[in-house]
Amino acid sequence: MHPNLFLNISVRYWQDFQDTLAKAINANIYIFDANVTPFSHFSLPVEICQDVNGGKEPRDNKCMDFYKLACASLGEKDTLVCPYGIKLCAYRLGSHTQKIGYLIIAPAKHTNLSDREEEIAFVTKAQNVYRTVNEVFNAILERNLLGLRRLELNSIYEISRLMTSIIELDKVLELITNSLIIIYQADLCFIGLREGDKIRIAHGKGVRGSNLLIGKEWPLVHPVIEQVSSQIEPTILHIGELKGLPGFNDVEIISISQVIIYPLWTALGLVGLLGIATPASLDDIGYRNLQIYTNFAAVALANATLIRRLEKEATTDFLTGFLNKRALQDVLAVELQRAARYGYQLSVIFLDIDGFKAYNDTYGHLAGDVVLQKVAELIKNSIRVTDIACRYGGEEFLLILPGTKGEDAARVADRIRRSVENYPFPHRQITVSLGVTSAKKNDSVDMLLARADQACYQAKELGKNRIYLDPS
C-alpha cells in the first residue's frame, strides 16, 4: 500500500470535518501522522495549550517529546496525562500493518477528569469519535487505493494495445520504461536484452546515473543473473546484491533499497530482464498487475527484437557483413538527397575483383568466399566509418563516400587497390579494378550507378588492377 496515500487527504477539508465533530462532542481533537508529525490543528482552543504552544498545534518541546514517546509505545488505545496535566485519550489509526497515524481527544476545558462519571462519559465519547474517524480514514484510503488500481489497469490496457502495434525496438523500450516510471513512480527502471550468453542493457531511466547502465553487459553465468534468469517468477534483490554488476556503481541509489527483477519469458525463451525499483513496496494486487504488464512487455520486446533481426538480415550481405544490393538503392537515394539538400559532394567507387571467376573455378567456392571476405575487410580498413560499403553482386562492391569529391575518392580507391594487391592471398595474387565517379545535380540512383559501372569497365579495359576516374 502506498505510504503517501494518507497524506493526500486534503487537510483543509479534513479540518472542517474534524472541527464540526469536535464542536458536536465539545472535546478537542487533533491528529498526528504515522511519524508523529502534527497533521491537523487543535479543533478547539484550550487555554493551557494556547499558553504553552501559543498556536493551533503542539510545538512546545515538552509536549512534542511526550507525544513522540506516547505514540511510539501506544498499542491500540490508551488514556494518558500530558506534561501539563491534561488527561487525554490516544488512539492508533489504521491497523498494525498499515499505521495511518494517531488520534488525540482531550477535554475542551481544563479538567483532570477526577469525577469518575465524568471520566466514563468522556472516554465513551472519545471511543465513538475514534470509531468514526478511523472508519472515515479507512474509507479514504480504500478510495485512494481503488483509484490507483484503476489508473494502473487503464494504463496497462492502453499500453498493451499500443505495444501490439509498435514494432520498432527503440520505441517499445521507451514506452515500457516511461510507463513503469509513471505508473509505479519507479526510481529506476531498466531493460536488458539477451544477446547469446549475456544480457545487454538496452534502456535505463530514473535516478541520476540510470542511463549509464545502457550498453553494459552482464554474463548469464554471473551468479545474480543466473539466479534471476533461472526462474519464472520475479526476484527481489537488495541493492547491495546488484553492486557487483557492471554499471551499478554509477547509479545514485540513495532512494533505492531493493530492485524487483523480472525475467522476460516468451515461447521463444528468455528475451531479457526487466528491473524496477519502486519507492514503496507493492501489495499482492500491485505485484499481479506488474506481472501482467511485464508479460505484455516480454511479447512486445520479443516481436520487436525479431523484426529488427529480420530487417537487418534482409539488408545485410551474410558473407561480408556489408549492405546488400537491395539496401543499396535506398541508402544511395537518401545520400543523394542529403548531398543535394546540404550542398556537399558525394562520390561512389565501383570495385570488381579481377579474374575472380577463374579463381573460383580453379580453387573452389570456399576459397572464393575467403577472397571475398578478405577483400571486404581490406575495404573496411581503407574507408571512414561515415562511408558506406555494399556488396553489389558476386565479386562487385560499391562504396558510397559522402562529403568526398572525385579526386579524393580516387585516392581512397587507389589505397584499396594497393592493399588488395599487396595482401598475400592463398594460391595467387588478387587484384581489383575500380571506377570512381561523383554525383551531379539532378542525378538519379540509376544514373550514378551506371557511370560508376562504366568507369570500372574502363579500368578493366585499360588493363585491370587500376582505377579510373570518370571525367564527366
Partner: protein
C-alpha cells in the same frame, strides 16, 4: 462566459501547462505525456477534485472548464492546485528525461512562470505527499 479577471488568472497557468506539454512531448511522445498527465491529475485530485476538469489530448491542454468552475466559485484554490500539479509533473519528468534535460525544460518554464509567487520549479519539486496547506 468567463470574465476577463478569471480568464487572465487561468490563462498564465494554461500557457505554462501548454509549454510543459509541448516540451515533454518532444522527448517523450504524446502517449507517455498523456499517461503522465493522467497520473498527476489523479494524484492532485485526491486533494483538489477540480483538477479533473483539466482537459488534455494529443493536441495539448485546456483549462477552459476550470475557468468556468472558478467563475461559479471564485474561492477555488486554483493557485495551490496548479502549483502542486506543476511541481509533481516536473518531479516525474526528471526521472523520465534525465536530470540534465529536465533542468533545461525547468529553466525555460521558470522564465514563463516568473510572475508566480512561488517557484513550482524548485529543484526536485515538492515531494509526493507534501502539503503546503498544512498548518
Amino acid at each position: 462566459m468567463v470574465s476577463d479577471a478569471i480568464g487572465n488568472r487561468i490563462k498564465r497557468y494554461e500557457t505554462l501547462l501548454k509549454e510543459m506539454w509541448a516540451a515533454s512531448a518532444k522527448y517523450l511522445g504524446a502517449f507517455s505525456v498523456s499517461l503522465l498527465m493522467e497520473r498527476v491529475v489523479w494524484e492532485v485530485s485526491l486533494e483538489y477534485k477540480e483538477i479533473e476538469l483539466l482537459q488534455y489530448d494529443q493536441d495539448g491542454v485546456s483549462c477552459a472548464r476550470i475557468a468556468a468552475r472558478l467563475e461559479e466559485n471564485p474561492e477555488l484554490p486554483v493557485e495551490d492546485m496548479f502549483m502542486k500539479f506543476i511541481a509533481r509533473y516536473v518531479e516525474i519528468l526528471a526521472k523520465l528525461l534525465g536530470y540534465e534535460r529536465a533542468e533545461e525544460i525547468r529553466k525555460r518554464l521558470r522564465i514563463l512562470g516568473e510572475e508566480f509567487n512561488e517557484d513550482p520549479f524548485a529543484k526536485g519539486g515538492m515531494k509526493s505527499g507534501e502539503d503546503k496547506n498544512r498548518h
